[in-house]
Amino acid sequence: MADKNLTLAISSSPHLRSPDTVSNAMRDVLLALLPITLVSIYFFKLHAVFLILVCLAAAALTELLFRKVMNKPSSLDDGSALVTGLLVALCFGPSTAWWTAALCTFIGVGIAKELMGGLGWNRFNPALFGRVSVILLVPIFSYLSSIFVSMRPYLGEIDMVTQATPLALLKQGVGMPGLFDLFLAFPGGALAETSALALILGGIYLFYKEHITWEIPVSMIVAVFVVALIFGQNPLYHVLAGGVLLGAFFMATDWVTSPITSKGKLIFGAAIGILVIVFRVGLGPTEGTAFSILIMNAFVPYIDRVTKRPKFGEVAASQSASVSAGRPVSKTS
């Protein structure tokens, strides 16, 4: 056309976009984690603040480093590194050494996510992968401790009822906190175990913002409850104490590492719930939720395949084929 100065944008249809972005979703997850973060800071003061800052910094630096080395553009703006960092921190107790938390974060963000191809390509939840690496790689962590022990800052005494987690107490059958304390706020175990209520509030926010759906949290919690009953345990303790609520709302619902369909999500959540109790009853009292989710993460592609839904018209087609050759044409007057 005559107008030479006209520069028009060209792209494939559609030409409209919803306001949803990964960054917005991650920001909402951080917001949803705010209540539990504040409760943990309330109880553990500087210990919690320090641990959280270490993990956030470690996560951001790890992502920057890996993407720089792999010659990829920075993806810090999607916020997923910060979410992973915060989640790792929340999975630890306040007395955790900073180098342990930092290395776990490094492994979570660097190996479980970036080496797998970055956000979207990771098969395992990065935060949980990082968190359990401390158990799988015990020798490395004790070696680190021997090096770094002098570099541990003094942040005051930790204000805890006991260093034993409620779950451990449950296992031993002594000195358990009341259910109501456990629900509202109780300083025991990891940062994220300080208040069930704060986690539930966060979960409701994510649900309200449509970042998560009901299937995984509900099926997982119901499974924990029912299987605990079967094992003759107090089901409410199993739901409220330990990592079940954090896992149900924030970890098992991770987009990248959970199934796509409603049916798949129900299977996934229920399987995690069952595994949690099996771990807790059969094995040690800690990390049952983390291991259960990671194990089920591995099954996600399989679950997606077996829960594949029929396409539009496929059900109708098979129904009419099985009824007779007659089409529904004659149905109308």
């Binding site: 494939s12 390509w121 796509i260 396409k311 539009f312």
Partner: protein, 437 residues
Amino acid sequence: MTVKTFSQGVFLPHYKEFSEKKSITTIPLPKEVVIPLHQHTGAPCRALVKPGDEVKAGQRIGESDAFVSAYVHASVDGKVTAVEPRPYFTGTNVESVVIEVDAKQGKPAWQERDTSKLSIDEIRAAIKDAGIVGMGGAAFPTHVKLSPPKPIDAFIVNACECEPFLTCDHRMMLEMTDMLLEGARLAQKAVSAPKLIFGVETNKPDAIQALNSKIAGEAGVELVALDVKYPQGSEKQLIKAVLDREVPPGKLPFDVGVVVQNVATCIAVYEACRYGKPSIERVLTVTGDGAAKPQNVLVKMGTPIGHIIEQCGGFKGEAGKVIMGGPMTGWAQSRLDTSIVKGSSGILLFSPAMVAETEHKACVRCGKCVDHCPMFLYPNYISTYAETGRFDLADEWGAMDCFECGVCVYVCPSNRPIVQFVREAKKQIAAARAARN
């Protein structure tokens, strides 16, 4: 009022307020019109004229012997200056007849007929002679669609206009209600359907009222109010919403006893049967946040979009994007000398602010595309497999059943160009299938 709809899909912002209250107007003729000889699904036409020929508005200038094809006609009085490939709105070049428009246009002498006496074959012949194609965008020859090989029990008028921004069908429903009703009756007769159903979305209450007041008391005619959801105007989704029938994969509406035509097509059918008037003009919406004067205009086929934009006041501020068609399935234009064809329902002018980001990230498996896909496919897997070259797996997850409505791209938080991936996958899958056979 019960409101029906289909499963999944997405609620989009309407953006109809720019032009929905603007009556249909006409604009001055351009200096030349460019009429593509292949602007429909099916076989291309061959030119019946050569440079230097004088043509009259309505004169057939291209035809094909194939059944699935549609004649093209001169839309103005003028002189043929060239028959050559010209830029087409999809980005390719298409053999076109270029006509220099006469300053003085004659008055077309249409022969008025009593449409109630027309037989089924006469209706179909009139439509074929008029070169009518689906005017909602698909451009499938209407005489073919109105010759279904199976018995039809319901003829549905697609009055959803589910694409945001577009209001031309809405205006036609209001301003040409009788013609629409008559055209729908003729098309219904052509397929011998006992039932005539109008499917209208509820964001057009005045159109619903106008149609209801005309069809009140008539047996076998019904208006179904539909929720405002995209892509309601897609045939399969419309049939599901209106009749709760599902067209199986790979099948067509007539397989479930239904034929669908959109509003503009029905009106064209009326004009063809009543006056013998060919498809030489259409109403389209010129709108968008970047349009100085959004409006609905009646234009001649072959009018360059630049002329229309100019006559409609051009851009308000800086130009961002020009789209031929709706914002969900339309084509971004790189130049303004492409012309209006029978399937063009709108010209959208976007400001730079409306232009979507093109950078995309990896799929984060949020599942939103799966939750919204109206065909119950897995756009997440299809796009990732297409991106990584695994077209066999893209096929397995349903690439070939996608009709490219764009819902998945709209909801994707990673801004993935899934429709583009699907198009590539379809090409590769078709090639692989052809190689196997």
